[in-house]
């Protein structure tokens, strides 16, 4: 039986991936005064969704990415439900390939992220075409994809450290250290 104080700490550890994703989403959504970059800012929320969906799938649940999508849509002005649907699709695709990629090295994971990131972009274009009968300009979409892929390595390394900490702390808590 785990004492309540330890259970609380374990709960906090389980919440860390979601908290990191939420903080990055808020940063992504807030005003940054970056001039023309605004329209193709890297899609930061999808990097932790990918990382934790791969490393610790149960700490990045579907209901959380659904809520994340709702928040994104409400603030950016996209049709409500679009990002939720795309993020869930992103996570389903990730989980379907997880067993093949999980043990691969960093470069393979990065390449897989780049490939997987194309899916929500293509789906977004298609959905908006269905919605507004208008295909969005492709240059900003491609630039956003490229910038997000470029941001991945730095964040991956940072998340690696957080993940190591979570695992070691969990082990200590579960084994009474």
């Amino acid at each position: 039986m785990i004492p309540p104080s330890r259970r609380l700490q374990l709960l906090f550890l389980a919440l860390i991936p979601a908290l990191i994703t939420l903080v990055l989403t808020i940063f992504f959504l807030s005003s940054k005064h970056v001039g023309g970059l605004s329209h193709f800012m890297p899609l930061l929320p999808l990097i932790p969704v990918f990382y934790w969906g791969m490393a610790q799938a149960r700490d990045m649940p579907y209901w959380f990415v659904f809520l994340l999508g709702l928040l994104m849509d409400a603030v950016t002005g996209l049709p409500l439900g679009l990002s939720s649907l795309l993020y869930i699709a992103f996570l389903i695709l990730l989980h379907s390939q997880r067993k093949y990629i999980y043990k691969e090295g960093f470069v393979m994971k990065w390449a897989f992220f780049a490939a997987l990131l194309a899916a929500p972009n293509i789906l977004s274009c298609l959905m908006l075409w269905l919605f507004y009968a208008y295909l969005p300009a492709l240059t900003p979409v491609l630039l956003q994809w490229l910038l997000t892929v470029c941001c991945y390595p730095v964040m991956h390394k940072g998340f690696d450290r957080v993940f190591d900490y979570i695992l070691s702390r969990r082990w200590q808590l579960l084994h009474g250290h």
Partner: protein
């Protein structure tokens, strides 16, 4: 899909696979349902959106403040570097403006006497509500921004939003303490405008690029590069004569307009309350 359990204790997902799958199906269905309801402009979805924006606006305000501080510090440094040359330029501009002021006063007096002579009904005066932009300007798909004023402050749907350089967009959604501005560049933006010299009315249509285009122009349009575009006031939503932009290219019937307002550097905007 099977998810491996590790030694850790988990809190997020139900242990039973069937429950996990059912929740996934439910979430996908809910997302699709919301999407369809958004398409049909369902008021419940609009209400949900404004509730979320009302809740998140204070958070965005807080997170935007360090960014604003960094931005303002940068602006301050640049201004400091250019202070001397700017001072000389401003002195010259002041001399020029004083001449214009004298002319404007004379014209205003003449205008007022002529209006009195013709018994012209005075135009309705607009009121302004100044607000702070708290969100980023959307991604590649939508060009919009959130401001920290809503219906409580008197903001209404479709009102014009301006910065010191001209028109920036219009109010699309209004919450209690937040509102969304649809920028001129968004593909859903349609603004009635008029070319100042050619006197040709048209609609400025956004296309998700920095240069919206003019639609519904006549085949023998006389609009040229450099023409100033202002709001026409048609429809009675926007006041007449708000500067919108300048024509940058006229090719094969496509007229591109560079807006005066660069939305990405604007921090504060004014919402104009104007109605017929």
């Amino acid at each position: 899909m099977p998810i491996k359990k590790t030694h850790a204790t988990y809190f997020f997902l139900p242990d039973r696979q069937w429950l996990y799958r059912a929740s996934l199906v439910m979430l996908v269905t809910l997302s699709a349902l919301l999407l369809i309801m958004s398409k049909t402009n369902n008021p419940a979805v609009a209400g949900l959106r404004t509730h979320i924006t009302d809740a998140v606006t204070p958070v965005l305000e807080v997170t935007a403040s360090p960014m604003n501080a960094v931005h303002n510090a940068g602006v301050w440094l640049v201004e400091l570097v250019h202070m001397h040359s700017e001072n000389i330029a401003l002195k010259n501009e002041k001399i020029e403006l004083l001449k214009w002021q004298a002319q404007a006063k004379a014209m205003q007096a003449e205008n007022e006497s002529l209006r009195a002579l013709l018994k012209v009904v005075p135009a309705k005066k607009s009121t302004y509500i100044t607000s702070h932009i708290v969100s980023d300007l959307g991604g590649p798909y939508v060009h919009s921004a959130l401001i920290n004023s809503g219906s409580t402050q008197g903001i209404k749907k479709d009102e014009a939003v301006v910065s010191e350089n001209g028109l920036m967009g219009r109010v699309m959604d209004v919450g209690t303490s937040s509102a969304r501005i649809l920028l001129l560049s968004d593909m859903n933006s349609h603004i009635p405008v008029i070319a100042e010299h050619a006197h040709e009315k048209s609609i400025l249509v956004g296309n998700n690029t920095d240069v919206p285009t003019l639609s519904y122009l006549s085949a023998d349009s006389k609009i040229k590069v450099g023409e100033r575009i202002v709001t026409s006031g048609d429809g009675g939503i926007f006041p007449q004569g708000i500067p919108v932009g300048v024509v940058t290219s006229v090719t094969k019937g496509t007229v591109k307009v560079q807006p005066y307002v660069d939305a990405s550097v604007v921090e504060y905007v004014s919402v104009i309350d104007y109605s017929f």
